[in-house]
Amino acid sequence: MTPASEMTDTKAPLLEVKNLTTRFATPEGEVAAVSDVNFTLHAGETLGVVGESGSGKSQIFMSIMGLLASNGKASGSVKYRGQEILNMAPARLNRIRGKSLSMIFQDPMTSLNPFLTVERQMTEVLVLHQGMNKASARKRAIEMLDVVRIPEAKRRVDMYPHEFSGGMRQRVMIAMALLCEPDVLIADEPTTALDVTIQAQILDLMDDLKRNLGTAIVMITHDMGVIARLSDRVMVMYGGRVAETGPVETLFYQPYHPYTLGLLASMPRIDSDLGQALPTIPGQPPNLQFLPAGCAFQDRCAWCSERCLKELPLLRPVSEGHSRACHRDQLDIAALEGVHA
């Protein structure tokens, strides 16, 4: 295992994403799933990406990993340690995927081959990419299963995916993603399909990876609790664009964008006072096919003005590292109570 210190001494960001835009050609016309997204990810950092369905949160990373559906096209720039990787030929990208950037998904069964034992699936990568012999690849696979705390890894490595429970499969997938010691682990809703006690185990595990291996993590989720637990920085997505981004404390304690405010206020919380009705965000998430001119959040926003209908709000800074895409300079919180109550 490479110690964390060795990874963090390089100053260049691991990922530098500029003006990333992803469009899908559909029979009904072009759909912009991701528009003009910019961010950097440094070694050892955990970036939380939060948003609802259709917010573009997953498609950003599908674009980066070259995993877009065939009708999708990404433009802009994605640099991994200074090297441009967006739209790179699959053969070259394969040298970076898995080895330097790894991605795990909500449903492990879609990424695991049901016909092969866990050992076959894990060692294949090591034999092909790292030229290991079979015996040492097997040893390494078992080590990795130990890291993700699969009990009796020696025995279980010879089992098939269906013989594992949902939580165990997610661990196997994390182990596979970590085999080549990637710098970045992109986790797309890794705990959404799991029970809450199993989710707690997986979040603990990811916390350990962050601390012990110094792996940079991108956590894509709709769950603000999961974001609060793991992230250093957060990016809130709405309608394919970044609505707000900042350090995790700032975003939770001084949210600035009306959508972030609404999202935090409308969640029932296990620790909140129980009032009467929950504050809600009225309406529905936008249809990306028919995005309005101006701000995508306009018809759900309590602070919407004439300007919001015409002019797209660009991301602008509130404070160091904290930006929001909103025309308003001040948000009067009373407006939220008044309008949404």
Partner: protein, 331 residues
Amino acid sequence: MPEPRHMLEVIDLKVHFPVSRGFLRGQDKLKAVDGVSFNLRAGETLGVVGESGCGKSTLGRAVLQLIQPTDGNVLWMGQELTEADSASLRTLRRDVQIIFQDPLASLDPRMTVGEIIAEPLETHYPEKSKAEVREAVRAIMAKVGLREEMINRYPHEFSGGQAQRIGIARAMILQPRLIVCDEPVSALDVSIQAQIINLLMQLQAEFNLSLIFISHDLSVVRHISHRIMVLYLGKLVELAERDALYARPAHPYTRALISAVPLPDPARERERKRIVLQGDLPSPLNPPSGCRFRTRCPLAEARCAEEEPKLRHFGDGQEVACHFPEREIRP
């Protein structure tokens, strides 16, 4: 007949499914619900929580007689349902409705919204005129927040939140007294969940509805429920008033569940002490002896393997099935 104390009384309900072990190897019994008792008052919401395989959905369906219980009693307004004939079951269906997790999957794609909502009314009250039905449909659509012009549209034209409103309208049109809500907001986006939760609470207040609210989400259940029941592998492990359950959870499983919910508050979430359960849910086909939770329980002792803990009163109206409900758990 005097008004019964409870609208619904469920006594020692069991639902066992036969599971084939393979050709000529006989059958196993999957005890999805294994001896659950509870009652429900008018206007009350009973939350049912637990993880996958705990039997919460099966329980909801068995109460409605959508699944035939293996044993036990379900009394609706004092009337025994498990032996009811089809005529009295039909009356029950007017009083008791259900809404599901995936609203789109539970709506017929070839029917218009108006037809979907009208169907139960036409089935139960065939004597009603077209105009009466249409008027009732309009009224209930307004009540659940659907615009009148949506009446001739098809389910696929609706988002998840609106489709769930259609499901609620369909359930509400018969003016039921109880709605079983099976994970009604789990498939919805966060910003839409609050809308549907508020709607259900509003309808409850207006019509004095009782709700059985089945969910895996402890924050949502806390918000909507008066009392909460925690299930584990088909057994009731704890039943308590909402505030008591969250302030002083007695069963170690309840405590672990509550502590596992991540708080949307970075500072508090990171300094929190969590009870992280080891291992996975055991197979419901072959549950552990004694207390079913013992294989994952941080408090388990030899006694827990031998003797199944009985549900008993604890503290202030709480009921808990644990030999050591007061013992501290050291994380």
